[in-house]
Symmetry: C2
Subunit: 364 residues, 2 copies
């Protein structure tokens, strides 16, 4: 392979942000977990526990039984959502992780901000750009740090992709393909998680829930934001009435680079990101899901090199970064402003899907 | 794997159109080859020779030296383009294969039709839909059979893809990705082939020359024609001034299925077609180039099966089909009307690239 690639692979540091050694952490950031859906139970709580920089201390959910079960199982303090918002347990946590349905992020984040707590909020940031803007403002007004849960940005596979692109291994980027799909009703299981089918709670389904991964990961990898988008959404089955079951969208980046993406909540599982440049193709496949190992290949002049690298617990990495940056008093890369760009882009794709025309993004 | 897949793979017949055994052919179809660019010399002439159903007998080109060299090398009759059009060597061939620059197809096909010769014309059929329509009309008026050189349609990989989709192995198709690129100035070499940079001769570059492969192969695989298209073209380098260096396009098929495609004449070699359905993903990679083996994979529930199959000389297969159908007096699947659909679709994508809006196709 090319010399820049070989050099880079030798140099890669998984956590280039880490200045505090995990072993030196005596008082990890205490996290209140808000929302106990499948992802929080199966991934976030284990990830928080694995990370040396964080520990879960408090949990809440609108489902009292889920709170009681998780609190007992993990020896945590369970509180009601009202208690959480009122600060009744505020002495027991330093930060709040919000993993509730999109349209309820604002109320919990605003409450946490009023309590002076740091916030890690799941993506998409809220159900509309306007509510997301209010969420960001609440944190800014209270002077609390806000990170948004873009777990790909702390994943070594995506970081390698970004670094290889930065190093020029692909040459000039010409175009990008991404696809991500799942059978939501099958893969995600319980009714607890089917709020994504309610447009008032979710703000949208395939595009909001899945489309944000290719969108944000491509932004991260290219180090650029789209200037124009177009898209189409489609719903075939009654279960998805009122929301988008499938979506196709195109993101145009500065320099005219097109990223063309498809996502679906009801298709065979797929998870792939491919960047084609003048000098090489860089492929993440699988790319996006926490529940699969990531793959990374470089293809150049007919030769494909599959790169072996350490697979990580994506959510451990995300919370390690969150906790570390708080302890080190360093800012977050995926912050509120960064997330607002996604919210406006997603909104513009829905607008394009409605009008049939491309929509310019002016960096609102 | 699924039972339909296993059954199908057992049953697959590479040449399901073949009713005449190759060994039984005493008088293969005699072919005049018009245009001696890289593809004709390196691929078409060897393919014609390999096929039991065809033999080359006459060659012509505007380059007299190329004619003399090829004629001597292969012991063929070399004639001038005027002689070919005038029918001076018409007793020496039964069919004419036209592989000249796009905008010169009409004159050669019309001459062949007047001579009562069968025609195999390269794709795209001409430089504009209007000229292509005249070309089809010339063959119809003269009552001569016209096949268009969609070599993917006789390739076992594409035929397997179509047959697996027909058999329902992918379930309902949700969306399609395709990408195809090359470094045209590097990979294709000689100036002889750079007429693609002249919009008068080519009618376009990345989209006309490369974009037609994903477009036509997806039509073939899905057994359907696009109802709406949108696209964008882009030119970065001076060498491509006046034509499209890169293109991105979306094809919407009946039922709302989106195929999203990127092509480039100046990007790292790529050649991939992926169909995502509710039950499986079917992947051709490499997919499109005559100069690489094709790959075929089925991915389902996290399991990827790479299917081994006999690699063929794509152009041998194409000419075998051409010669066979003529000898058997059977029609061609990729005929003039089929090719016109591509011409209108490509024209509509250029229109969309110009206006920024999607264009409806009304099956002109």
């Amino acid at each position: 392979m090319t010399s820049p690639l070989a050099e880079y692979l030798d140099d890669f540091t998984r956590r280039d942000w880490q200045t505090i050694a995990p072993d030196d952490v005596d008082d990890p950031v205490r996290v209140a977990v808000v929302g106990l859906g499948w992802f929080a139970r199966e991934w976030a709580l284990p990830g928080i526990a694995r990370s040396a920089f964080t520990e879960a201390t408090v949990v809440t959910d609108i489902d009292n039984e889920a709170v009681a079960a998780v609190a007992a199982d993990r020896d945590l303090r369970g509180v009601t959502p009202e208690e959480l918002r009122d600060g009744a347990a505020a002495d027991g946590y330093d930060a709040v992780y919000v993993a509730t349905p999109n349209a309820t992020h604002l109320e919990y984040v605003a409450a946490a901000a009023e309590q002076g707590k740091a916030v890690l909020c799941e993506k998409p940031l809220e159900s509309t750009p306007e509510r997301a803007r209010d969420l960001v403002a609440a944190c800014e007004d209270a002077g609390v740090p806000l990170m948004v849960g873009y777990r790909m940005q702390t994943d070594p596979a995506a970081r390698r992709l970004r670094d290889l692109l930065d190093a020029g291994v692909a040459g000039d980027v010409v175009h990008v393909h991404a696809t991500m799909s799942q059978t939501m009703l099958g893969e995600l299981g319980s009714d607890h998680d089917q709020w994504r089918l309610d447009p008032e709670l979710s703000g949208g389904c395939a595009l909001m829930d899945i489309g944000i991964y290719p969108l944000n990961t491509i932004r991260f990898a290219l180090g650029a934001d789209p200037v124009r988008v177009s898209g189409r959404t489609r719903t075939e089955h009654d279960a998805f009435a009122g929301v988008d079951e499938h979506a196709t969208y195109r993101l145009e980046f500065p320099g005219g680079i097109d990223a063309t993406c498809t996502v679906s909540q009801n298709a065979q599982h797929a998870s792939r990101l491919e960047v084609t440049g003048t000098d090489a193709r860089l492929i993440l496949d699988p790319a996006f899901y926490e529940r699969e190992d990531r793959g990374f290949a470089v293809v150049r002049d007919g030769v494909r090199v599959d790169i072996d690298f350490e697979q990580v617990h994506q959510i451990e990495e995300e919370f390690a970064y969150f906790g570390h940056q708080l302890l080190a008093d360093e800012p977050f890369y995926p912050d509120g402003e960064h997330a607002l760009t996604d919210m406006w882009a997603l909104d513009a794709i829905y607008e394009s899907a409605s009008t049939g025309e491309p929509v310019e993004l002016d960096g609102e």
